[in-house]
Amino acid sequence: MTALAGLTAVLLGSAVALIFFYAPVDEDGLNQKIFYFHVPIALTAYVCFGWGALKAFLHLWKRVPTADLESYVAIHQGVIFGAMTLVTGSIWARFRWGHWWVWGDEQLVLFLVLFLFYCAYFMLRFSVDPGPQRANLCAVYALFGVVLIPISFLAIRLASSYIHPTVFTSSGPQMATSQFATFCVAWAAMISLAYFFYRFELAGKRLAADLKELRELLA
């Protein structure tokens, strides 16, 4: 764990350094730097949701005993990173377009839908008593979520032709090598950070579960 923490710190540090000192300044000026946070955070959130769905599938299919908790923690991280995506995206939009929210940004809208979906996951989880049934329900819902990602994306794409005439994406399609390198380091840093939080939270939850079991045995 300490090795992981160290790695994360190094990656984050180098990412920040690269972002602010190495990557070329764009016409947007400082605002463009937010991309190096926004997009990696968004991609990391997708990875978290995907990981959560994978663990959910393992729970349902193979009955792996740890899978339910891992799925939950992964989705938890996904929601945290998802919230950060929305915040960074919103900040970018404010500085670029003058509004705190722009519906024309398809990725951001997709994120909003997913964010709502996965928040409902937590509502579900905390309104059912712990046990095998709760694990099943959450796993099924997590799988619905991962299916929803491409469907929603398609939907938002389709919707843009009758809602807003202007369509743009917040991540530039072409990147110069230096930008790309910075981007990669930033992404590695975010994944590392997410993984660190994931392991950290898992360890904490397992400890709590062990403690509870111990208490019950002694009682």
Binding site: Q133, N136, L137, Y141, I151, S152, A159
Partner: protein
């Protein structure tokens, strides 16, 4: 295969019979959808285009479906009647399919009233809208029935179902409104087909896990 179909038919008939006797869900849905349309009339300022009203039709459909779905598993939960169905040798997914067929029937019945009412209050409805309604109903009911079973387990069932359902209903609304409004509805109808197939399959496959204790 034939046994499966028979089970589904038996279960769907059971739900339809129950509703015919109890007569609470369907009248509520009818009243709700007409009231909603009247509210929409007052919600649209003068300068709104006719297209805005088209969008609101879909809002009405989604929320009317929610009214029906909230009631979907009520007897099974309140009187533990789901046990009776789980004890039976039928496939678990047949329970989902039977229930979906019944809910679909209620939703269709509500729309038989809603669509003419809409045409009277607002503007005419083209064939593309009707096709979209048919396709959208399948998707809404498939996902909604599964989520109704999920919500039925929780303590906060009436609160939870809309929260679980609405994000999943967004693509349906997009497909429906697009088909009603856009020049070439084929894309949107195709999208609704895709939604139906994908989510019906995943709902069908996962129902078993939702009901095991």
């Amino acid at each position: 295969m034939r046994r499966y179909a028979t089970d589904v038919a038996v279960l769907a008939r059971k739900d339809l019979t129950l509703e015919l006797r109890a007569r609470d869900t369907l009248p509520a849905m009818l009243l709700f959808v007409v009231s909603a349309l009247v509210v929409f009339h007052f919600a649209l300022p003068k300068s709104s285009s006719g297209l805005a009203a088209k969008g609101l039709l879909w809002v009405a459909i989604v929320f009317t479906a929610l009214v029906g779905l909230t009631r979907a598993f009520v007897p099974e939960r309140e009187q533990r009647l789901i046990d009776g169905l789980l004890l039976a040798p039928c496939d678990r997914s047949a329970i989902w399919l039977g229930k979906s067929v019944a809910v679909l029937a209620f939703l269709a019945a509500a729309e038989v009233v809603a669509l003419p009412a809409y045409a009277a209050f607002f503007s005419g409805i083209g064939w593309s809208t009707i096709a979209a309604v048919v396709l959208a109903d399948v998707g809404i009911v498939a996902v909604g029935t599964l989520l109704a079973a999920v919500a039925a387990v929780s303590r906060a069932r009436e609160l939870l179902l809309p929260l679980l359902f609405l994000p999943l209903a967004i693509p349906v609304v997009v497909g429906g409104v697009g088909a009603s409004v856009a020049g070439s509805p084929a894309r949107y109808l195709g999208f609704l087909c895709l939604y139906d197939i994908v989510f019906a399959m995943i709902s069908w496959a996962s129902f078993e896990y939702v009901v095991t204790e």
